[in-house]
């Protein structure tokens, strides 16, 4: 979209603005003041002019997350509650089966004076912990970014590398494959053990499954949610112990199976 697109966009803005004003006038005439109610204008997916987020169908984006501008999210990835992915001045690419956990911030470099605007590229099967900040960096496949870690401009986390929780990786640092970096500023700590390497893959698997469950629950309509509450109440009154003594076999509703299945074990 070039200049013509921009013109159409601006004219469209004016037309919609006028339409809204007429609608408000109508509401006032009718004596309806519903338009005055302060409603949240938060949008999960937001364009910036022609930069539009592209989310694959089976990815999970939490309703409280904000995915803005030129962002692509791959298959079975999950963006958790309160995340902000802001691809306004450059693009963000998130691979498949990657999880970006709650409250994480993924940015691209803003207009800085030197003009080095860099994208953020996150590979496949990456785990990014809660509260992390990823700023114009590259995280390769099967890497792990711990909770509360900060990755500044130009950082490269190589395949299978790990940034420990709370670490601050300074500008243009390269975290080599198979290493753990920690601290502020982040330094090499040790090599990754085989167990940890296996855990990274497992974590990605766990999270894509969990994301699917959350996506399903968040997509529920009002009636479905109310139905679930009723069903849960019914189940709460029943005791499996009591039932088995009397030889009663009850069918469990598939919607309530999740809690029973995982119990306290839970994914990491």
């Amino acid at each position: 979209m070039g200049t013509l697109g921009r013109v159409l966009y601006t004219v469209g803005f004016w037309v919609r603005e006028t339409g809204q004003a007429v609608d408000r006038l109508g509401s006032r005439l009718q004596g309806h003041y519903a338009f005055k109610e302060q409603l949240s204008r938060h949008r999960t997916l937001m364009n910036i002019f022609d930069k539009k987020p592209e989310i694959s169908d089976n990815a999970f984006v939490a309703p409280s997350a904000a995915v803005i501008g030129d962002v692509q999210i791959g298959e079975r990835s999950s963006i958790w509650y309160g995340c902000v992915l802001r691809g306004d001045v450059n693009y963000i690419r998130v691979g498949s089966e990657t999880n970006i956990q709650d409250n994480t911030l993924v940015h691209v470099a803003k207009t800085n004076v030197s003009g080095n605007v860099a994208p953020t590229i996150i590979g496949d099967k990456v785990t990014v912990g809660h509260n992390a900040v990823l700023h114009a960096c590259t995280v390769e496949d099967e890497a792990f970014v711990g909770m509360g870690a900060t990755l500044l401009d130009g950082v490269v986390v190589e395949k299978g590398a790990m940034v420990a929780a709370g670490a601050l990786v300074t500008q243009n640092t390269r975290v080599p494959a198979g290493q753990v970096w920690a601290g502020n500023p982040a330094r090499f700590l040790r090599n990754l053990s085989a167990e940890e390497r296996a855990f990274i893959g497992k974590s990605a698997d766990n999270y894509s499954g969990l994301g699917a469950t959350h996506a399903e629950e968040n997509a529920k309509s009002f009636e479905q949610i109310e139905g679930d509450i009723e069903r849960r109440k019914k189940v709460a009154q029943q005791s499996d112990d009591y039932d088995s003594h009397l030889g009663i076999v009850r069918e469990k509703h598939p919607d309530l199976a999740f809690m029973d299945k995982s119990g306290s074990k839970g994914p990491h």
Binding site: Q38, L39, S40, H42, V84, V89, L105, T111, T150, T170
Partner: protein
């Protein structure tokens, strides 16, 4: 007899004071506590104002809802403290401005930030910007005798995930990502804080210095080029904010969706 009554009255005053200190709905442990001549039961709750409620009443009074169709309100006035926003300021839709918060002209507050001026005032100055997921809070009083208001001057850039509490930031300052600035500290003109620095309470960052680390330490002097670049950086971010502003009409159309929901009676009118 009179002594007993006085004793009871004093007890009641004490309990009311305690109730004020404790958060609202705390159950009273001792079943024999007396408030306003009424013997409290284990199941009773005392609210902030000393109001006694039974568990049942408490449930009815509860303001907690699991889902609100309105979402989070952007501006939350608290009594006489009302947030204000200049017409050409950009405040992202999921930002919360609570209490006395003043966002001045051309200032921008990005996604997920919280500005909570419930105890004191917060001012975001001209052309300053606050990154995503920042928390700005103001304490009731400051340990240094400086104003406990959170004041942010002109052309200030505050990085993502920063936390500022009752501090004064002068004009043309850059604060990196994930900085924590504690109460009563002062960051002077042209100072730069690097990413992840923590400024302890009452610390002064002198003019034209770069500080970093936890706790923040002096690194070097700011060069002339950098000083010239600071307002340009703020203006650059302002331009980005303008591209975001273009996505929002002055009024939201969300009420149309709500009216639709109300028509299908999915929402109680």
């Amino acid at each position: 007899m009179a002594g007993a009554v006085r004793c009871q009255a004093r007890g009641a005053g004490l309990m009311r004071g305690l109730a004020r200190i404790a958060s609202s709905s705390l159950p009273i442990a001792a079943p024999t506590a007396v408030i306003g001549g009424r013997i409290l039961q284990r199941s009773d709750f005392v609210t902030d104002s000393g109001f006694i409620a039974t568990r049942q009443q408490c449930r009815e009074m509860s303001t907690h809802v699991s889902w609100d169709y309105r979402g989070q309100r952007q501006m939350v006035p608290l009594g006489g403290r009302v947030p204000s926003m200049a017409v050409d300021a950009f405040v992202a839709p999921n930002v919360v401005l609570a209490g006395s918060v003043e966002v001045q002209d051309k200032a921008c507050v990005f996604y997920g930030s919280v500005l909570r001026g419930d105890l004191n005032k917060i001012v975001v100055g001209f052309c300053s910007n606050i990154g995503d997921k920042c928390v700005l809070h103001a304490a009731a009083s400051s340990p240094t005798g400086l104003s406990a208001e959170t004041q942010i001057g002109k052309y200030v850039t505050i990085g993502n995930f920063s936390t500022l509490r009752s501090c004064t930031i002068e004009d043309e300052v850059v604060i990196g990502q994930r900085c924590v600035i504690m109460e009563g500290s002062l960051v002077e003109t042209h100072a730069i804080l690097e990413a992840g620095s923590v400024v302890p309470p009452g610390r002064r960052i002198p003019s034209g210095e770069v500080w970093a680390g936890n706790p923040a330490r002096f690194v070097r002097e700011v060069s002339y080029d950098e000083i010239a670049a600071i307002p340009r950086l703020a203006e650059g971010i302002r331009e980005i904010a303008e591209s975001h502003m273009g996505e929002f009409l002055p009024f939201s159309t969300a009420y149309l969706e709500v009216e639709k929901l109300k028509k299908t009676s999915a929402l109680a009118a």
